[in-house]
Assembly symmetry: C2
C-alpha cells in the first residue's frame, strides 16, 4: 500500500454531517448482514461470543448489560448458543443464584473462522475503493471503535 501522508495532506472534504455517518453505518450494517457467512448468526450473537471469548466467563446479567439487551433476551440468546454448542452455562460455586456463561471450544473456533472469512470479504470490498478512500477508512477505524464504545458513558 502507498504511503499515507500524501493522501491525507490533501484538502479534506467539507465536514459531513453526523447523519451521513449514520447512513453509512446503516448501509455497512446491511453489508455485513448480507455477507455470505455460514453458519449465519446474528450480529448480537456474534458480539456476545466475542465478549465471552475476550473476557472469559461472565454472569448472565453482566452479559446482558454489556450487550445492551434485557436479562430475558440474554437468557434466550444463551439458550440458543448453548443449543448450538457455542456457549455453556456453568454454576457459580459462591452464589447458587448466579449463572456463569462461557464460550465453548466450538464457539471460539466458529469465531475464528468467521473473522477470517469476513475479513477477507471486507478486504475485497475495500480494495475496490479508490486509494484515498481506503486510507481514510483505515485511519478512522480505531476512532470508530472508540465512538462505538463512547455510547455507554453517554447513555
Amino acid at each position: 500500500m502507498e504511503p499515507t501522508t500524501d493522501l491525507l495532506e490533501r484538502p479534506l472534504p467539507a465536514s459531513p454531517a453526523a447523519s451521513d455517518l449514520a447512513a453509512a453505518v446503516e448501509g455497512l450494517t446491511t453489508l455485513l448482514r448480507t455477507l455470505p457467512l455460514r453458519p449465519a448468526i446474528s450480529l448480537t450473537a456474534a458480539s456476545t461470543l466475542r465478549t465471552l471469548d475476550h473476557d472469559g466467563p461472565l454472569r448472565l446479567s453482566d452479559l446482558a448489560v454489556r450487550e445492551r439487551v434485557t436479562q430475558p433476551a440474554m437468557t434466550q440468546l444463551v439458550t440458543r448458543l448453548e443449543r448450538d454448542g457455542l456457549a455453556e452455562r456453568r454454576a457459580d460455586p459462591l452464589d447458587a443464584r448466579v449463572v456463569l456463561v462461557g464460550i465453548t471450544a466450538g464457539g471460539a473456533a466458529l469465531l475464528r473462522e468467521r473473522r477470517a472469512a469476513r475479513t477477507a470479504q471486507l478486504d475485497g470490498l475495500i480494495a475496490t475503493l479508490p486509494a484515498a478512500d481506503r486510507e481514510r477508512i483505515l485511519a478512522a477505524t480505531p476512532a470508530l471503535l472508540r465512538l462505538a464504545e463512547a455510547a455507554p458513558a453517554a447513555g
Copy 2:
C-alpha cells in the same frame, strides 16, 4: 473546529484489519439502535423510508431488491409502514399485478425529525472524542458511504 492539517499529518496507526472495521460497524449499529428516538423504528424501516423519500414511488419487488430483503419480508414491512401511516400502496395503471409503494407526508416528516434528532445525538457523542478521532471520522465518512454502496456490485 480546529484546522485539520496538523492532526492528520501525525503518524497514522498501523493499518487495522478489516475485522476491526467490522467490529466497529457492529458496535455503531448497537449505538444507533439504542439511541433514544421516538418512535423507535427499525434500521430496515428507516432505510426503506429513506429510499422511498429519495427515489419516489417504487414497485414492491424493486424495493425488496434495493433493501436486500425477500419479497414476503417487504410485503410485511410495507404493511406495517402503511398501518403506521408512513407509507402507502398505490395501483399501477399499466399493470394490475404491480403494487407501487410511496412515502406519505407523515413518513417524510418522521424522517426529517429523526434525522435531526439523531444527528444531534451522534454529534454529541462525536464531540466526546479526541479531536484527532473526530477529524478522522469526518474525513472517512464519504468513503464509508461509498464502501456501503460497493456491496451490490460485489454481491
